[in-house]
Symmetry: C2
Subunit: 186 residues, 2 copies
């Protein structure tokens, strides 16, 4: 029998895509098996806790990706301006210029929010805090930096909604351009 040996780690990005596309409730086992090319038994082998465990793993994976890319861009560059520029590039690439939606944002809006409240809150908090820290290194006051960071992350989420609504990636890419400019010029 032909077998494609899969590992849990390899399944998670595909799972993420299913949850992103259909939301938590809409991610049925049929869609999950279709999206992962795995049978139900394999899925339950990797995630005995069912959909809840799958969603947890996906959220952890997204969190990890942002920590290793976006937040690292912001924190580990000696030049804060360069770090902020890199963050916008990372974000633009991650969301496929607006064609891809934010999984955590989708979860935040749905009734699954309460179930994953900690993960959702931590994701946005970590992002805002990392950006605020970088903004402080550009010479802004802590309070101003925090407010600006919140503004930027919120605007990115809103731009994803509008890009989907209008089915136009430029709504997203132009927003990123504008936000970057406004952070780095005044």
């Amino acid at each position: 029998m032909a077998r494609v040996i899969a590992e849990r780690e390899d399944v998670i990005p595909m799972l993420a895509e299913v949850f992103r596309t259909y939301g938590f409730e809409g991610a049925s086992l049929a869609r999950i098996t279709e999206g992962t090319k795995l049978g139900k038994s394999s899925i339950y082998h990797f995630f005995p806790g069912g959909k809840e465990e799958m969603a947890e793993a996906v959220l952890a994976h997204v969190d990890d990706w942002f920590k290793r890319n976006v937040f690292e861009s912001l924190n580990e560059r000696s030049d804060a301006v360069e770090g902020i520029t890199a963050m916008f590039d990372d974000v633009g690439r991650y969301f496929l210029s607006g064609r891809r939606v934010c999984l955590v944002g989708v979860f935040a809006l749905g009734n699954e929010r309460d179930r994953f409240a900690d993960r959702i809150r931590d994701y946005f908090a970590a992002w805002i805090d990392a950006l605020a820290a970088a903004l402080e290194r550009t010479g802004r006051k802590p309070q101003e930096a925090q407010a600006l960071a919140e503004e930027v992350v919120g605007s990115i989420q809103g731009a994803l909604v509008l890009a989907r609504a209008f089915d136009r990636t430029d709504v997203f890419t132009e927003t990123l351009k504008r936000l970057r400019k406004s952070l780095l010029t005044d």
Copy 2:
């Protein structure tokens, strides 16, 4: 037999609340009958087309509410500044200071977007256009007004996401305050 006679019009706001809370896929008939206090027969009597017709009616209702309130605030006041202020008040009240989510935004992010693409696009386009027109009346150039309006509507959507993520209404109300100020001072 005890009867509480309902009308289609009275059902729609309750339906809207169910769709807002659970999304299109998550709005099961069980949740719909629970949320509307109506039996299946009554629901299907009012909406023979099933969930699709219910969602259409709800989107039309939201559209109508915004046209009759938010957009009217913007367009039919002789003083554009007063109109913009009224819009922010309307929006703050409508979204219950951020406790309530935007139904159209939720639909835009989900895979139901394609099914209701026209309604979703028109809702945001009408909002942005109405705000842009008011901004032009405050003396801004058409292009600048359009970009600013898009920015504001996007920021409002993003603020709803963050308010839900942090479970803090002030994230939403502070964003409204900031946006209003930035439109009316510079």
